[in-house]
Amino acid sequence: MTSHIIVFQSAADMPSLPMSVGTTLYNKTGSWRYVRPVYRDKTPPCNHACPAGEDIVDYLQMVVDGNYEQARQRILEENPLIGVCGRVCPHPCESDCNRTQLGGAIAIHALERFVAGQPGARRLPQAEKTAPAGAQVAVVGSGPAGLSCAYQLARRGYKVTIFEALPAAGGMLRVGIPSYRLPREVLDAEIAAIQALGVEIRTGMRLGQNPVRAGSPPGRDGLRLEDLAGYRAVFLAVGQHLSRRLGIPGEEAQGVLPGLEFLRRVNLGEPVQIGSRVAVVGGGNTAMDAARCAVRQGARQVTILYRRSRHEMPAIDEEIEETEGEGVKVQYLTAPVEVVTTVGKVTALKCMRMKLGEPDEGGRRKPEPIHGSEYSLPVDMVIPALGQEADLSFLDSQIDSARGLIVIDAAGATSRQSVFAGGDAATGRSAPSAVPPRRAAGPNGGGRPERGAGTVAYAIGSGKRAALAIDRLLNGQSLEGFPALGEHVHVAARDVDPRVVPFEDINLAYFSSEPRTPQGQRTAAERVKDFQEVNLGFSEREARREAERCLSCGTCNQCDTCWLYCPDVCIRRRDHAAPPGPGHTAYEFDYDYCKGCGVCAQECPREAIDMEEELKWRR
C-alpha cells in the first residue's frame, strides 16, 4: 500500500466502498509540533567528579555488556594507572553518585579494579602521533603525575625521559602507599607498560643536587634545571615528600620518625625500628597507613591521635574502618604538646584535649585547646603524619611559587617558558582547590578528602593536562582554552552537554533501591599478619551485578524506553550492529511525524532527552 497522497481522478478510479488503499504515512504530523525532542547526553556526577577525567558511565556500560577489555581501553585513554586507582583512589565519583539514595553509590572504585584485573591485552591504547620529529621531553618525578604525563606524551610519539630521585619508580605510589593497599606487582606492571612505550626512567636522579657530568651514567648523580635545557619541555612533578613538623618540644628525639619517612623505609624494604607502643599523629591516609604498617611490623599497641573529630578526618572512610578493625585505637579531639623522653628515648607523649570552634577557611572547624586537660600517653615511638610539603629547593627565580607550591595556570604552565608542573607539588593539599571541599555522603562509599587536589587521580589528571599543553606548545599552538584547574581534562571526550544530572532529574519510576555490592575483604585477624592485599575485589558476577546498578545518569544506554512509549511510532532504533553504549546515538527521531508530545523526554529514566523549541530548529 502506498504512502503518498492519493488523488482520485474520477469515481471510476475509486473503490466501490470506503476502503483504504494507502497508509497514513503521507500525513507528516511533524508539522504539528512547537517543541521537539533531542537526544543529548549530559554529564553524570561521577564523570564530573573524577579528577583523572575518566568517562566512568561509558566504561560501566561496557562492563554491563561484558566488554571488559573495551572498558579497560576506555579508562586507559585517560588514565594509565587503573589498577592503582582502583585500589587507592578516594573515589569522589562515589561521593557524588546519584545511586547513593537508592541503595548506595555504585562501587566504581572496586569496578575499576575489576576491569584492571581482567585477563587480556596489556597494551596501552594508541594515539595519533602528533610529536614533531625527535622531540624530547623531560619529566621530573615518576609519581602518578609524572607517569601520566609521560604516558600521554609517549603515545603521541614523544621521546620522554623521567628523572626519579628515589631508587625505584612510582613516587608516593611506591613509597607512601603500603603493599597491603597497593600490591607491588600491580604497580610494577603498570609502570612497565608505560616504559614499554619507550619511556626511559632514570632513578637515583634528584633535581637540585650535584650537577650532572656529561656522559655520566645514572647513579647518585644529581640534576639542576639547567641540565634539562636540551629538552624541548619539562614537566615538574616532584610531589610532596617532606613531612610537616610537629612543632612541639622533644620532636627531635630518637623514636620520633616522620610518617612519610617511616612509610618509605617500610615500602622500600629498608630496616626500621618499630616501637612497642606507637602513637601516630594525624588524620589523613598517611596516618592510617603508618598505623597499619606499625601493626604489621609488630607494634603491640598503636594509637592514632587526631585533633578534630571523626567527621573532619580527611582519610578515606574505608581506610579508617580498616585501621580500627586492625586494632588501632583512635583518639579524637586531642593533640600532642610535648614529646617526653627519658635518657634520650621517647617514653610518653603529652597531649591536650581539643574542642571544635568556628570553621576555618577550608571549611573545617578549628580545634581549640581545652586548658587544663593535659594528659600523658605512654609511648615509645611517635610517628607524626601531619601533612606533606614539597621540596622546591631546586627552583630558580624564574619559576614562581606560592605557599610552598609551584604556581601553574590552567595549562599547567609555570612562569618559565616550556616548564610545566603538576601533581602535589603544584596544587598540594594545603592550597584551596578550585571547588569547595565536600563532606562524605555517608558510610557507603563516601570519600573524605577535598575534591581532587592531593589525590592520585588528581595528579594523573594534572599530568595529562600538562602533556596536552606540551603537545600544543611544541606544535606551535596556543595554550588557551584549558578548563580551570578544578575541572578535569579529557583525551577522548564524547560529545556531551556539560550540565551535570542531579538526582532529582532521574526518573525514579524505573529504579528501586538495590543494595550496593560489598567488596570481599580479608579478616582483620588474618591481614595484620602480613602485607598481602587487604581487599579482595569483585568476582565477575559481583562486578556485573554492581555495574548493572548504574543509573547511567544523563547518558543513553539503549534501554528502549523512549522507543517503547512513543504514541506516534516515530522513534527508530539505529544500527543494532554498532557497538552499544553511550555516545552512540542509538535511536533517531522521525521528525516528519513527531508531534512533540514529550512523553519520551518525560519517561527517559536518565534525562538524556531534551525538549527544545521548534522555532530554534527552523530557520
Binding site: 482520485f8 475509486m14 466501490s16
Partner: protein, 384 residues
C-alpha cells in the same frame, strides 16, 4: 419437491438452498418461524451455517454486516419494529456495499402493538439503499431468496425480500422446493471482491471527507440502477433453470385495459381474482404487479400504463402527509411521461385489516365512478 409450507418456512428453505454461511437474527412476531426453522437446520447440520442468537435486531444486522464483510454469505430476517431498530445499520450495509439478503415480514408499526400485515415498515426504509422485492406467494418468496443472493452479489448492494404478515408468513401454500444441485448451479459460492483478509491490511468504512463522499454515493446509485437490469436477467435465468421466470413488474391482462390496478405483495393475488371476475363481465380491467420497488422500475411502469386511462394504486401502507407510498412513487415515475393516466391512490388494510375481493371491487367501483380522486388519499373501509 413440492411441499405445502408457510411463507416463513419458504424463506428458511430458500436460505438453506442458498447455502448462507452466517445467520444472525432476533425473533419478532410474525418472523419467528423463519429463525426457528433455520436454528434447527443449523443444529443438525442440514445447513452448514453459524446461527448467532443475538439480543436485538440492531445487533442482528450488525453481526450480519460483520459476517458479510468477513467474506461469507450472510442472512437475517425481521419485521416491523425490529426493522425500525436496525435502521442505522441498514445504511452501514448498503454504504458498505454488502450483498446481504434479509427477509422482512411486513407488519404494522406501533403504538399500539399491532401484529397485522402492513407495508409501512419496509417502505419506511426505502431510502436506505437496499433493493426491495415484494412477494405475492410463498413460492415467490422462496424463489426470491435465491435470486436475491445472486443479484446482491452481482451489484454489491443488500436485498430485502418482503412478505406479508400472516397472509403469507403463516399461511401454508404448495411450494416447489428446488433441488440443491440445481440451486448450486444457479447460485455458485460467494466470491467476495472486498473482504477482511489477514495479510491484506485495508481499513473499511472509515471517515470519508466531503471531497470523496459524493463519488462513493454516486457509485452506489450507479449500482442501484444497474441492479434493475441484473434483476431482470437473473429472473430470466431463474426461469431457465427452474421453469419460473420473473421480471421487475408483472403485467396481468393489461394490454387493452382502461383501468389498471397497481398492487404489490399478497393483495396482488386477491386482485387477480377480481380482475378475472370483472373481465368475465366484460370490463377492461388489468393488473400491474410491482415486484421490485427499489430501484423503482420507472420504464417498466410507464410502459405498462401507457394506454391506461385510470390507475388505481392499492397501498397497504402510508407515509403521513403524503399518502400511499406506491402511489407517490408511481406518480413520480409518470412525471414527464408522454401518457398521463389519472392516478387514484387508495390506502387500505393498515394494521392487518383484511383486504377481500369485495374490497378490490369497491376500489374498482370508486375508480370507475369518479373522473379523479375526490381527495388526495382515498381511505378505504375506514369508519370516518
Amino acid at each position: 419437491m413440492e411441499k405445502v409450507i408457510m411463507g416463513n418456512h419458504a424463506v428458511s428453505y430458500g436460505v438453506q438452498l442458498a447455502r448462507a454461511q452466517v445467520i444472525a437474527a432476533y425473533p419478532i412476531t410474525p418472523q419467528t418461524q423463519i429463525v426457528e426453522m433455520l436454528s434447527e437446520l443449523c443444529a443438525d447440520g442440514r445447513l452448514k451455517a453459524t446461527f448467532i442468537k443475538v439480543e436485538s435486531e440492531h445487533s442482528a444486522m450488525a453481526a450480519t454486516v460483520g459476517a458479510s464483510i468477513a467474506g461469507v454469505r450472510a442472512f437475517t430476517a425481521t419485521s416491523s419494529h425490529g426493522l425500525a431498530l436496525m435502521h442505522e445499520v441498514l445504511h452501514w450495509a448498503s454504504g458498505g456495499r454488502l450483498p446481504i439478503v434479509m427477509a422482512n415480514v411486513n407488519r404494522a408499526l406501533g403504538p399500539g402493538w399491532n401484529l397485522g400485515g402492513e407495508q409501512t415498515d419496509s417502505l419506511a426504509q426505502r431510502d436506505t439503499g437496499w433493493l426491495q422485492f415484494y412477494c405475492e406467494t410463498n413460492q415467490e418468496v422462496l424463489d426470491m431468496v435465491i435470486q436475491g443472493f445472486k443479484i446482491a452479489e452481482t451489484v454489491l448492494l443488500p436485498v430485502m425480500i418482503v412478505l406479508d404478515a400472516f397472509v403469507l408468513s403463516h399461511t401454508e401454500e404448495p411450494v416447489d422446493i428446488p433441488e440443491p444441485a440445481d440451486v448450486d448451479r444457479f447460485l455458485p459460492p460467494y466470491q467476495p471482491q472486498f473482504k477482511l483478509e489477514p495479510g491484506e491490511p485495508h481499513s473499511f468504512y472509515g471517515l470519508v471527507a466531503p471531497e470523496h463522499y459524493m463519488e462513493l454515493r454516486f457509485k452506489m446509485e450507479q449500482a442501484m440502477e444497474e441492479s434493475l437490469v441484473v434483476a431482470q436477467r437473473v429472473g430470466i435465468e431463474f426461469g431457465q433453470a427452474f421453469g419460473r421466470s420473473y421480471d421487475v413488474v408483472e403485467r396481468y391482462r393489461l394490454d387493452d385495459a382502461d383501468l389498471v390496478l397497481v398492487t404489490s405483495g399478497s393483495i396482488t393475488g386477491t386482485s387477480r381474482v377480481v380482475v378475472d371476475e370483472l373481465r368475465d363481465k366484460g370490463q377492461k380491467v388489468g393488473l400491474l404487479k410491482i415486484r421490485m420497488f427499489r430501484p423503482f422500475p420507472v420504464a417498466a411502469v410507464r410502459e405498462a400504463l401507457s394506454k391506461a386511462q385510470k390507475v388505481a394504486v392499492i397501498d397497504r401502507n402510508i407515509s403521513y402527509g403524503v399518502g400511499g407510498i406506491f402511489a407517490a412513487e408511481l406518480k413520480t415515475a409518470l412525471y414527464g411521461a408522454p401518457h398521463q393516466p389519472v392516478v387514484f391512490p387508495f390506502v387500505i388494510g393498515l394494521g392487518g385489516r383484511d383486504v377481500t375481493p369485495q374490497s378490490i371491487h369497491s376500489i374498482v367501483a370508486y375508480t370507475e365512478r369518479h373522473d379523479a380522486p375526490l381527495e388526495p388519499i382515498i381511505w378505504m373501509e375506514v369508519k370516518r
